[in-house]
């Protein structure tokens, strides 16, 4: 079989055309396949070669159109990574998230308090529910001794508080993202990938959630301590409540972040810059 790759290269060179190696490779494969097909149909080798040669001539006369746009390089180089993973990601992210929030103290305070309220209320209610409803009383046959009728009510309150925390976080993040559309547009125009933008959003969300969790858990601890003096079985040292509830809420917070993060990643730089 003739060496089509070399033939194509020679013709392109003769025509003074510069074409990517990859493209020459692809065309020579096409030539090979066309030649083989012609031979398989029973055409003599010379005739098949002539046909394919005509093909090659056609390509070379349209060589100006045989170009793939090179992938756009990022205008801003990502920083070199000789720092450790911990310093580069976790600490850096926390610091950056904190600086972002400091720029809008009022907004941040409302956001964190909303979450703290939700988290505090949820933790308290779960603590009470766990102590009053789930743990067996220290008497034999406790079901004959007491009848608790508020089971569903307390559970419903706890779920309601959880919903408030989730909706609050979702709303606050969506609002923040809407305000930062222009900034994200600039970042995208400078070469930020959708992944970078999602990380940016998550960074801020994680910082806010951490703030909300701290305040919320402190409040809940205080409240449960107070309630434990009134209700039997409720203690402020209930590990299940103080570990499980924050983990659950962090998951909810992560879910609430996904929508604004994805939306932010799809911001079209041109629209964003014009709007701003």
């Amino acid at each position: 079989m003739p060496d089509w790759k070399r033939a194509i290269r020679e013709r392109l060179d003769a025509a003074g055309q510069i074409v990517d190696d990859d493209i020459v490779d692809e065309l020579s494969q096409h030539a090979d396949a066309a030649y083989e097909a012609a031979r398989a149909e029973g055409r003599p080798a010379e005739e098949a070669a002539q046909d394919v040669d005509a093909l090659v001539v056609g390509w070379c006369s349209h060589a100006h159109a045989l170009r793939r746009r090179p992938p756009r390089p990022a205008a801003v180089e990502s920083p070199s990574s000789d720092e450790t993973f911990w310093r580069r990601t976790v600490l850096h992210d926390a610091g950056y998230g904190f600086r972002l929030l400091k720029r809008q103290p009022g907004h941040t305070a409302v956001a964190i308090l909303t979450m703290a309220l939700g988290i505090g209320a949820t933790t308290t209610l779960f603590g009470v529910a766990d102590g009053v409803l789930l743990k067996p009383l220290p008497w034999p046959e406790p079901d004959r001794l007491v009848r608790v009728t508020e089971t569903r009510l307390i559970g419903a309150f706890a779920l309601f508080a959880l919903a408030i925390a989730a909706v609050g976080l979702f709303g606050v993040l969506s609002y923040t993202m809407a305000q930062r559309t222009r900034e994200i547009g600039v970042r995208t125009a400078l070469g930020a990938t959708p992944r970078d933008v999602v990380i940016l959003v998550l960074r801020q969300a994680v910082t806010m959630t951490a703030g909300g969790l701290t305040i919320g858990l402190a409040t809940a601890f205080g409240l449960v301590t107070y309630l434990s003096s009134l209700l039997h079985g409720v203690t402020a040292h209930d590990l299940v409540t103080f570990v499980a509830v924050p983990i659950g809420l962090t998951v909810v917070a992560a879910l609430a972040c996904i929508v604004p993060a994805k939306r932010a990643a799809q911001v079209d730089p041109v629209t964003a810059l014009r709007a701003g």
């Binding site: 494969q29 396949a33 066309a34 093909l55 159109a65 045989l66 170009r67 793939r68 746009r69």
Partner: protein, 114 residues
């Protein structure tokens, strides 16, 4: 085959939807795309190979298809094209446009299509 201006324009206009449609179910390489268009249209629409690759590269630039080199044991590496999510949307839109166009043609000019 003498090529009229009408035929040329029709070929240019339909190239995109043909390529996208062929990549709908599976990824294919350039030669296969050209051959299938030729075969399935009984030679009525035959792409000049010179215009096939520029067309593929343009579709790739627009993010409708995605070309990748695939190496299989005992074979030369080949560039396979697959349809992207955006390509799928564009294909659906173009199908509608052609459908309406054919329906209108058959009503106005009494051109039937199967």
């Amino acid at each position: 085959m003498p090529t009229t201006a009408l035929e040329r324009e029709l070929r240019r206009g339909s190239a995109e939807v043909l390529i996208l449609a062929l990549l709908e179910d599976r990824s294919r390489h350039g030669y296969e795309i050209g051959r299938l268009i030729d075969q399935r249209s009984d030679g009525t629409i035959s792409f000049h190979a010179a215009s096939l690759y520029p067309m593929l590269y343009r579709l790739e630039d627009r993010g409708l298809i995605d070309g990748r080199w695939v190496e299989k044991a005992g074979q030369r590496r080949r560039r396979y094209y697959r349809l992207t999510a955006e390509g799928r949307r564009v294909l659906a839109r173009q199908r509608d446009v052609w459908q309406n166009f054919f329906a209108a043609l058959s009503r106005v000019a009494r051109i039937r299509h199967a």
